[in-house]
Amino acid sequence: MSANQDGTNLLEVRGLTKIFGTLTACDHIDLDIARGEIHALLGENGAGKSTLVKMLFGSLEPNSGEIFWNGQAVRISSPGVAKKLGIGMVFQHFSLFEALTAAENIALSLDDGSPISSIAAKARALSFSYGLPLDPESLVGDLSVGERQRIEIIRCLLQTPQLIILDEPTSVLTPQEADKLFETLDRLRSEGKSILYISHRLEEVKRICDRATVLRHGKVVGHCNPRAETASSLARMMVGNEVQAVVRAPVEGIATAQPLLEIRNLSRKPATPFSIPLKSIDLNVRAGEVIGIAGVAGNGQGEFFESVSGEVLQQDAGSVRIRGKNAGNLSITGRRLLGAAFVPEERLGHGAAPRMKLSENLLLSRHATDGKAFVGGGGMVDSAAIYAAAQRIIEAMDVRKSAPDPEAAALSGGNLQKFIVGRELDRRPSVMVVNQPTWGVDAGAAAHIRQALIELSRSGSAVLVISQDLDELFEISDAIAVMHNGALSEPMPIAEATFEKVGLLMGGAEPGHAEHTMETA
């Protein structure tokens, strides 16, 4: 930490409070950020981290509390004011425009009116000096997530900010891209800039941050030096109690087990100009194993899931086989009737109908497969049976809710995810395909979901998990395959897999000479 110029902190926050309806998202938050430090803001999903930084960047207005910049009380009424003060932000959900070029995107956040061509030149120069190569003429819609983040960072740096806020920057990066980011952050710190770093990845916080402020349920629950803590002590501060570790017993004789889900030469043309084609994917998932599919977001995972689940049908019926039967030309219901179950990435809209009750959502997904149980004589719906089944799932998955049978949209993301996964597990499917099982789910619930998936596989089902979270895949998978640019690598047994190997494949290296290939721009 460099010395303060005049004894004051760069930024001080006192008693900042934000209330949405009945929810107090931030409750009297105090925060100090010194010059030249990387300050971590830790907390579970919904702890109020994003709300806090949106207030610092002027996107949200606090209900009460004060912000001091260089010792002066300031009111940050808009992002424009924040930029003038010298606060820059790299957003979690990128605030980029897909149909515009990188240079145009950068120009939009600069108010100096200089021509696009000079902005493009400046951006190119700055990006190379930080080792984050960027082509200003490229269309954002064509770029990978990592490249998009570079645009955000360059855009932020061009405004020469004193304080840079990064909201969960590594959640979409490969390990190698994350390393590159950490180098950049180190360099910025050495230039005397301050960084507010938001994350729930404890290892990286321990690695790069000087100080940490921990939030829980909208309140500050502690300050600490992350380097002096262990990952589990930080987790305890965030969650408030111990997080149970997931147990995965190794399985024997997988090689001879019967494949329940077979994917043969699955190809798909891109549906829109910005989507990814699938390139002859082959994969077997056998009874008793969990196979994980890693990959940077937007490399065809969504398209792959749609093809496997039957949201999009294939020409070739044999390209997807479930329990030995051709299913490529079957609808979602047809594939479910063969014993498969699917959990899509988007919870609201795909996984559940937001304005319908949980019991109704249960009937929607299982009326065909469990018709006898849920639909009584004369085609009438047996509400009592559905309600009982919904309650059984709620109990099994520990879904926390405010009413006995609430609307899906009324549940928090994590609790709804537990219900949706539980709804499929309750059928004891012989093939289970899950896309991002714990996206945005807090640590306790995530552990619960992961354990349930492992147990399903050990009871003789085939489980396929698509996830961007490498920690999660290493925790639950028996083998990991990597999807890059629409192609899927050979599954790597977990005993042989390392973060580095998987990370290189995520960046597009060939499996054979992975050790020698550097990530290209």
């Binding site: 992002p79 990128f94 605030s95 515009l100 819609g141 100009p273």
Partner: protein, 324 residues
């Protein structure tokens, strides 16, 4: 030769109101707002323009009144959809219904009254040049406005910073808001500009095209303008192309319906055969030809999916409520 010039002039007159209304709607949709009330704003412009022109005796003041009428009427849509975040489709449809009804009521005393036409441009020496003189220098003033407007909107959208900002809002209003761009303010101004253009287009109908007031005189032109914007994939010069294709075929089929085949027995054999072929279709099919041909042509020129995707405002029609 004179007949050809006359036909070309009629085509320009038919295309001009479509072009102006569509260019206005293009700016509105580029900002991410879908205003289906073009027909309503146009007819309000037509009745306002004719009424003021009739009362003051000046078609020029009438023209300004038409623009003002469209702008004020669109403000109603802007307040509903932008400040109150109502559904844009439903609000736009009701704007059209309201405009058609209200204009009919306001115009009852103007029905059958003679109107004064905006004079055509007349530049001594230039206008009297054979053939091109009347085409280039002898048309009504709104024709020149429509061409200038197309060029100006193209320059604004693709060459200026403000235009870039407007397009970015149409692409993603949440991203724009996160950058501190005043989404609602931009959209208000866009909607009002679109309203002013629709009003001007209506004024063209009641002050140039047929200088009188007839109830429902827009006859669906607002809807055609809306369709042109979409089929031209939100690009101004394609809107112009579409408007003129529509105008040309519309005028052409009217002529084919009106002429007598017997008058052409002495014409060259090919022309006779073509006219005979066209006359063999039922008149209803000929009347639908402009719509069909415009759609077909514009679909063919927007076959490049990637370009279409880049030009489509992704947040079109979605209400935006900034969280503060």
């Amino acid at each position: 030769m004179d007949i050809t010039v006359n036909i070309l002039l009629t085509i320009a007159t038919a295309a001009t109101p479509l072009l102006i209304a569509a260019i206005g709607e293009l700016v509105v949709e580029r900002s991410g707002v879908l205003n289906l009330g073009v027909e309503g704003m146009m007819i309000m412009g037509a009745v306002g323009g004719f009424g003021v022109s009739y009362l003051t005796g000046s078609p020029w003041i009438g023209l300004l009144a038409a623009i003002a009428m469209g702008a004020v009427f669109s403000l109603l849509f802007a307040v509903m959809t932008l400040s109150l975040a109502t559904n844009q489709v439903a609000t736009g449809l009701s704007l059209t219904l309201l405009g058609l009804g209200l204009s009919g009521m306001m115009g009852t005393s103007f029905v059958g009254q003679p109107g004064e036409r905006l004079p055509n441009l007349d530049i001594p020496g230039l206008t009297s040049i054979p053939v091109i003189g009347r085409l280039l220098f002898g048309q009504d003033p709104i024709f020149y406005i429509s061409i200038a407007l197309t060029a100006a909107v193209t320059w604004f959208l693709f060459k200026t910073r403000t235009g870039l900002t407007l397009r970015s809002i149409g692409d993603s209003h949440t991203s724009a808001h996160a950058l501190g761009i005043k989404v609602i303010r931009y959209r208000y101004l866009s909607v009002i500009f679109g309203g002013a253009c629709a009003g001007l287009a209506g004024g063209h109908l009641s002050l140039v095209y047929t200088p009188q007031w007839v109830e429902n005189m827009t006859a669906g032109r607002g809807w055609i303008a809306l369709a042109l914007v979409v089929f031209a994939s939100w690009r101004p010069w394609r809107v112009l192309a579409g408007a003129y294709i529509f105008g040309a075929i519309w005028v052409g089929q009217l002529h084919v319906q009106a002429i007598n085949l017997q008058d052409f027995v002495d014409a060259p054999w090919v022309i006779y055969k073509v006219i005979a072929f066209l006359k063999s279709f039922p008149s209803q099919l000929l009347s639908s030809l402009p719509y069909l041909a415009t759609v077909v042509v514009l679909v063919l020129i927007s076959r490049n999916k990637r370009l279409t995707m880049m030009n489509t405002p992704a947040s079109l029609g979605q209400p935006f409520v900034p969280d503060r």
